[in-house]
């Protein structure tokens, strides 16, 4: 019954980058430093896009800080941007403190509320949970209003990214995506992008996907392009496959921190050079961050628990 020939949605990084242009609104998936489309972000840095607006999961880290550090970002819509227990996000902090990038004050309610509006086909989504906070006072993502039944509410304006970029452990060539673990905000983000690009560590067969449809977390029809990038989340983790590379992230933060004052941009510039500009492909990058030996160590975290 299904012996029809479908068009593959498999692309490469080069074709994915063609969906992006300067000035666009790009949103990244993942959460904290889980399931971040890190390799794709580095390739965006290599390409040198300008004036991007970025948002994503309410909990951003590497995928925000790196393009900010590379000077690609005009505006950031962030709930939290930091490396959690590893420390603050150096480029985000610098840009936000100096005002070199417009940081829109938001939180889960104002950002996810904006995504919900788009997903649910309405111009704004009512939210209530920011009352009393200074987020309510200073955010430009929502306005206070009185609803038709007299309730005091906030209207979180619809947010629709031009391109949503996610990373997942597995997917097939038609864009059907599986996760081994929690999906955070991935499903709603896949629903709201004008285009949706997903990098996957492992490419699996559609036959396998179809045999257990309940495992598909994002159905292919929502996805514009799937790109096979093993270890595509590194130095972040990919749930179910490999842990985050603490040493690499600490080095990243340290380099950013050293450049924070502006006195010595060298360490961060070196990071960009070594990990973004120079690598020819993901395998070249993996060699630079410790090769398969390191990748095997990161895999142990999942195996050992």
């Amino acid at each position: 019954m299904d012996e029809y020939k479908r068009k593959s949605k498999l692309g490469d990084v080069e074709s994915g980058l063609k969906l992006i242009s300067d000035g666009m609104y790009i949103a990244f998936g993942g959460h904290v430093f889980f399931n971040k489309p890190s390799y794709f972000v580095r390739e965006m840095v290599k390409k040198g896009f300008k004036d991007l607006t970025i948002s994503g999961s309410p909990y951003a880290s590497y995928e925000f800080d790196l393009p900010i550090g590379a000077g690609m970002v005009k505006k950031v819509i962030a709930g939290n941007c930091g490396f959690e227990y590893l420390g603050f996000a150096p480029n985000f902090r610098k840009a936000a403190t100096t005002g070199s990038v417009e940081v829109v004050i938001g939180d889960e309610a104002t950002i996810v509320g904006g995504y919900m509006a788009t997903a649910e086909g309405i111009p704004y989504h009512p939210i209530v949970s920011i009352k009393g906070s200074d987020v309510a006072k200073y955010t430009t993502l929502a306005v206070e209003y009185t609803g038709p039944f007299g309730d005091r509410l906030y209207a979180a304006k619809a947010l629709q990214p031009d391109v949503v970029i996610l990373h997942a452990p597995q997917g097939d060539e038609y864009g059907n995506i599986r996760y081994y673990n929690s999906i955070f905000f991935e499903r709603i983000m896949a629903k709201i992008g004008k285009k949706v690009i997903i990098t996957v560590d492992e490419l699996i067969s559609n036959k396998k996907v179809r045999s257990q449809p309940e495992k598909t977390m994002i159905p292919g029809f929502l996805v514009s392009m799937v790109i096979h990038v093993p270890y595509g989340a590194h130095p972040c983790l990919s749930t179910g496959l490999y842990g985050h590379d603490e040493e690499h992230l600490k080095d990243y933060i340290e380099r950013g921190r050293a450049s924070l004052s502006g006195a010595n941009p060298q360490p961060f510039a070196e990071y960009l050079q070594k990990y973004c500009y120079e690598p020819k492909d993901i395998y070249d990058y993996i060699d630079r961050v410790g090769g398969m030996k390191r990748m095997e160590e990161l895999k142990r975290k999942w195996i050992d628990g």
């Binding site: 299904d2 086909g121 449809p213």
Partner: protein, 266 residues
């Protein structure tokens, strides 16, 4: 109605609908008598639109058809193969978004000359003579890019001058009234009945005869329609199922014969 043909009127309706579906479509089926749109979608995926996405209301994305059934829902409920599950809540979300779904299919107790569809109330709203089952998804008639009507009875009780209640929004009062109601989607595009195929006049949005099924005649259509149809000077015969279409329907999509048999279904 001539029943000496090798195919049945439901099969004719299926191929008419199938031919209008497209690769980029996200098609949704599900509901009573959705055997017809379901078979149309399956046929289109095989012959005309392999990249089309088929959603079954509140169930699956691109399920394998297990056995065609009078119901769109039960046609796939036993399926154990699909690209993904996609629940009712998620389908509803999509159906609220302008143009996110490409097409949905309606039949109903009444259809009028502007393609409005009634599944709620026959007679006066306060003192109805009959209460229909109601309508799950008004949304799909408003926000889905285009709709198809597939009345399974073509008579003056179904094809009425004006529906008593608009359950699924068609071209409302014709002309630009749909736009004026704030609706930007195309609305009813085709109506495939047991007797013929109908489209809507580009300006007045009144129902127009597009073709007459081989099994029927223009006279039979006019005699069984409760309003004045637009009849062009030349009305072609509906292209009957091709050999490919016929073969696929009989051997793969509907081997058990839901779309044939039961002569009394009309």
């Amino acid at each position: 109605m001539d029943s000496n043909l090798r195919y049945t009127w439901p099969e004719q309706m299926v191929v008419v609908l199938a031919r209008d579906l497209r690769d980029e479509d996200v098609v949704i089926v599900g509901g009573a008598r959705h055997d017809i749109p379901f078979a149309a979608a399956m046929l289109a995926k095989r012959l005309y639109a392999p990249d089309m996405t088929l959603l079954t209301t509140g169930q699956f994305a691109n399920p394998k058809l297990t056995a065609l059934h009078f119901s769109g829902h039960t046609s796939v409920v036993y399926s154990d193969e699909a690209d993904a599950m996609f629940d009712g809540y998620e389908v509803f979300e999509l159906s609220e978004r302008e143009g996110a779904l490409s097409c949905f299919f309606y039949h109903g107790l009444q259809i009028d000359k502007f393609g409005n569809c009634n599944n709620h109330i026959i007679g006066d709203i306060k003192h109805p003579t009959l209460r229909g089952p109601g309508m799950v998804n008004v949304s799909m008639s408003v926000q889905t890019q285009r709709t198809y009507l597939f009345p399974i009875r073509h008579n003056k009780r179904t094809f009425v001058e004006r529906v008593d209640f608009i359950s699924a929004v068609g071209h409302i009062d014709g002309w630009d009234s749909r736009k004026r109601a704030g609706i930007n989607t195309e609305g009813p595009r085709l109506c495939a009945s047991p007797l013929g195929v109908f489209d809507f006049h580009p300006e007045s949005k009144m129902m127009r005869v597009k073709s007459v099924h081989e099994s029927s005649s223009l006279k039979e259509i006019v005699d069984n329609t409760g309003f004045e149809l637009i009849i062009p000077d030349e009305v072609p015969t509906t292209i009957p199922p091709s050999d490919d279409e016929f073969h696929l329907l009989r051997t793969e999509i509907d081997p058990s014969g839901v779309l044939r048999g039961e002569a009394g279904r009309l």
